[in-house]
């Protein structure tokens, strides 16, 4: 079938012509400046169309679609809440709104210490797997789970909102491994530093700080990348006396978490990237740390 000239150029651009036809079209392009201009214009408009719809790919997935994909109804899962510094006798008391502190990176370090200090005195129950829409655990256990997950989200948001100005205990200036060794020494167990600046992720280690996870000291590692579809990300590595739990997906507000416990350590990978990336990065973390 003899194609029209436009059809041929478009098929050529799309890589949908065979070898002989490609040669024929290239000979035509060599001899016809108007055809070359047409080809350039078509290529430009195709690139524009791709750009016009590219931002959708970088948006966080709505909860309702994740729930629909899993065959679940959108759960009334509590959103991330600020952890109260003191627990009053009435546990049903509404927690303080959390949005007010998100823009206060200067207070982040102090806030983290206070938060961690209070959480350390709370009894942390066994973390139940279940993920999004999973079985609702008992009230007290759910409260403990929420503390752990809410803290992880809170730490992430503090780091993300501060950007390059995020307060860290050990900055990753110079040799990142040396920075990690310093923070690792503050932990009861030696843990290794996962390098995520490899393969497709390109996540740069920006520093680490001491936080509290599962009621114990932990390290929060911060990673950033120019690829907004992936970063920023934080990884919390701490110690835990709780039984192993498999990696479980959870979501708080617009933040995705993948958390698990393994051989005395607790992990939480946190970010606004989609869960596909999160699984992939968690696989790399697990492979490097032998953590799953």
């Amino acid at each position: 079938m003899q194609m029209r000239s436009d059809d041929r150029l478009i098929a050529y651009l799309d890589g949908e012509v065979d070898v002989s036809e490609r040669r024929e079209i290239e000979a035509w392009l060599d001899s016809d400046p108007a055809a070359r201009d047409k080809l350039a214009a078509l290529a430009q408009s195709a690139a524009l169309v791709r750009s016009a719809f590219d931002e959708v790919m970088h948006e966080p997935l709505p909860d309702r679609l994740i729930a629909a994909a899993r065959g679940e109804r959108v759960s009334a899962e509590p959103s991330a809440k600020i952890v109260p510094l003191r627990r009053g006798p009435g546990t049903g008391k509404a927690p303080a709104a959390r949005s007010w502190w998100l823009g206060l990176p200067l207070a982040a370090s102090l806030f983290g210490l206070l938060l961690g200090g209070s959480v350390a005195y709370l009894s942390v129950a066994k973390l139940l797997p279940g993920g999004i829409g999973g079985k609702q655990p008992a009230v007290e256990m759910a409260a403990a789970d929420n503390l752990w997950l809410d803290n992880a989200v809170g730490y992430f948001k503090l780091a993300a909102s501060a950007g390059d100005g995020a307060l860290v205990d050990v900055p990753a200036t110079g040799d990142a491994r040396e920075a990690w060794q310093k923070i690792s020494q503050s932990l009861p167990q030696e843990v290794r530093w996962p390098d995520l600046n490899l393969k497709p992720w390109g996540l740069n280690f920006r520093g680490a700080r001491l936080v509290v996870a599962d009621g114990r000291p932990a390290a929060q590692l911060m990673y950033t990348t120019d690829n907004k579809a992936i970063g920023p990300l934080t990884l919390i590595i701490g110690s835990s006396k709780e039984p192993d739990t498999p990696p479980t997906l959870a979501r708080r507000q617009d933040v995705n978490l993948l958390y698990w416990r393994h051989q005395g350590r607790a992990y939480a990978l946190v970010g606004q990237t989609d869960v596909g990336y999160l699984w992939g990065i968690a696989n790399d973390v697990a492979w490097q740390l032998d953590a799953i």
Binding site: L42, V49, F53, R70
Partner: protein, 200 residues
């Protein structure tokens, strides 16, 4: 192939099924596959409907239909193509039932966004012109354009999703690309959009 295409489905498909406790492994894998392809489905649906809300409604409906008919999915065939087909089928049904076929450059105002403030901001973005130009295309041309030019599927894969011969896809795509280019050039969108894209 985009990064998410390569990584999303690959990692989820290879994720050990025991990773989420207490769930049926088959359902977990199916759900994970669905989640991995959601960004692409949303982009496709956004292009089809021209509306973020309608697009997510469409994708949600597609997820529900896919789960109800997961027994019909044949292992070894492409999951993403199957999902694109479901999205496209539901959308065509919606278009027919609403009788909102748009021809001759007619633009449905409600597709431009219901929020006036959002619309004003959108109008100032040059890439918004490109999206509106896509929205003016007839449904069959828009579908071909989104699957081939935006998502990078081959003509053959697109033909299988849409259920027409490859030659028909080629023809629809050519008409779409030419019409799009003419619209952008006549509206000055090509120049401004290029500037905008370069600035990003």
């Amino acid at each position: 192939m985009s990064l998410s295409q390569r990584l999303g489905s690959q990692n989820l498909a290879e994720a050990p099924v025991h990773l989420i406790a207490g769930r049926d492994p088959v359902s977990i894998r199916f759900g994970d596959q669905l989640i991995a392809v959601l960004p692409r489905l949303r982009r496709f649906a956004r292009g089809l409907t021209g509306s973020a809300v309608e697009a997510d409604d469409l994708v949600q409906a597609a997820c529900e239909r896919a789960l109800a008919r997961q027994h019909q999915f044949q292992e070894g065939t492409r999951f993403d193509s199957w999902m694109f087909r479901i999205v496209q089928t539901i959308w065509i049904d919606q278009v027919r039932s609403r009788d909102v076929r748009k021809e001759g450059g007619e633009v449905a105002e409600d597709r431009m966004g219901s929020d006036e403030a959002v619309r004003r901001v959108e109008a100032r973005l040059a890439l918004g012109e490109v999206r509106r130009a896509v929205d003016r295309l007839p449904p069959d041309q828009r579908t071909a354009l989104l699957l081939v030019t935006v998502d990078g599927l081959s003509y053959k894969e697109t033909a299988e999703i849409v259920g027409v011969p490859v030659g028909t896809i080629m023809s629809r795509l050519a008409r779409a690309r030419i019409a799009l280019q003419q619209q952008l050039e006549s509206g000055g969108g090509m120049r401004r959009s290029t500037d905008n894209a370069n600035a990003q």
